[in-house]
């Protein structure tokens, strides 16, 4: 069942990597416990902001939700298609043309060739690359490259969307359209999970906030309640 109505995430998780607890196993291997004793359930309509200091486990949680890490103990149950928005130009090759790179990106995003062929005119138009689309990507400016990557990456329409900070790309004119496009993607998705250090972003986008500290879930509630706990608190422990 991949319908939006049934999309939910529920999980009980422990462990992985970044700034959690350092340990030595019996064999003397160094291990990092990044998340510990975490039980959460996300339902349709949840717009979740992840907050916490560097190394608190935000990225690990995103990777766990995205299916990149498997929990070393506990379970992650996921219903629906997960789209994670991390590194939008991953997989693009400088020697391939813009058009070829749309295919490269597209298939890595889980789209079929025919789906890409159908969407490609819209992608090219949105990127404003014009005839440059037939040139190798190494001839692009960094702004052009980002516009292309952004245009392909945001055609997806997942049930569950994972993000690490908001995206801002291109010059002013493009930024406006990009912003609008991003809001469209977010509004299509049943569940949004976004890690951020920006209180304003979370206030604007989220209706629920998870506050992580050293791999533990410290607070889980509406932004008005949880945000002050983090942003008012002195940095560190």
């Amino acid at each position: 069942m991949y319908s939006h109505a049934s999309s939910k995430l529920s999980r009980r998780l422990i462990n992985a990597a970044t700034g959690g607890h350092l340990d030595r196993s019996e064999q003397g291997r160094l291990t990092v416990q990044a998340l510990k004793d975490l039980t959460i359930r996300l339902d349709v309509g949840d717009r979740v902001g992840l907050i916490g200091h560097n190394g608190s486990g935000k990225s690990t949680l995103l990777k766990l939700l995205g299916g990149i890490y498997q929990p070393t103990s506990g379970v992650v149950t996921r219903e629906g298609i997960v789209g994670s928005l991390l590194d939008i130009s991953l997989g693009m090759s400088p020697d391939a043309t813009g058009r070829e790179n749309i295919y490269l990106r597209g298939v890595l995003q889980g789209m079929s060739r025919s789906e890409i062929t159908r969407l490609i005119p819209g992608i090219i138009e949105f990127s404003e690359l014009g005839d440059f689309i037939e040139l190798p990507m190494r001839t692009y400016s960094s702004g052009m490259l980002l516009r292309l990557a952004f245009s392909v990456s945001t055609v997806l329409s997942p049930d569950i969307l994972l993000m690490d900070e908001w995206l801002a790309v291109g010059d002013e004119d493009f930024q406006v359209r990009a912003e609008q496009r991003l809001h469209e993607v977010v509004s299509r998705t049943a569940i949004l999970v976004i890690a951020s250090h920006s209180a304003n972003l979370i206030k604007g986008q989220c209706n629920r906030v998870l506050y992580l500290d050293h791999g533990h879930l410290v607070a889980d509630g509406p932004p008005d309640e949880v945000l002050p706990m983090y942003f008012a608190a002195p940095p560190g422990r």
Binding site: I68, Q70, I81, G110
Partner: protein, 262 residues
Amino acid sequence: MTFSATTVQGTPWRIVRLSFFLGWQDVRLMYRRSVLGQFWITLSMAVTFVAIGSVFGLIFGLPVVEYLPFLGCGLVFWNFLSLIVNEGAVAFIAGEAFIRQLPLPPVIFFLRSIWKTVFVLLHNAVALALLLVIFPPEPSPAVLLVVPALLIAGGGTAGLALALAMLATRYRDVPQILSAFVQVLFYLTPIVWLPESLPEQARAVILTFNPFYHMIQIMRQPLLGQAPTLQEWAIAGGLAVVFIVIGVAAYARFRHRLAFWL
């Protein structure tokens, strides 16, 4: 810079298609800026035939008509198998960025490297076909046996490479050890030299325990107009099964660790 990719909860068919596409792109892009493009693969193999063929043909005092087809088959098939091992073993390491970012089954990036070696083989096959047209071995229907032989040898070696890829991702000294080892095996395997030129007792030791020898035997003989013996099929097939079982078992057992090892 942050954003993108949906989960491909990979059906086997999608995994094969995606890896095929990526492997093909790799080969194309590798030679994108040269005039001959990927046909450099074909050309450099042809040059190798001529160079090694003329020098070693003289050294061994063998007629070109006999020696060149033997050498050509050996070189092309050796190239195929050694690429599978060398490229396959580092496939997960090469796919690190993807495996750590995209919720794709990591095996896609292994298969990508296998497809790449298949494409290289096809380009080399053009050079080999030319060679066999110029110096034709005795015509025989046994030629067709090269197809199952390629599947057995390629599949078996890929199984071995998958197991090595898991090991290499965990222990980063493995790729170095492997490429040194594969280099040595090239000299220990009858590719440039004929198996008959080894003394009887040495042959038993040097050839019996060399899996590459058995794999190359079943691929090379059909093209030279001889059907491999039942025993040769059995050895190569048995090795292939063992390698595939080990490779698949290692992947199934440890695939969830790959993201941590990278």
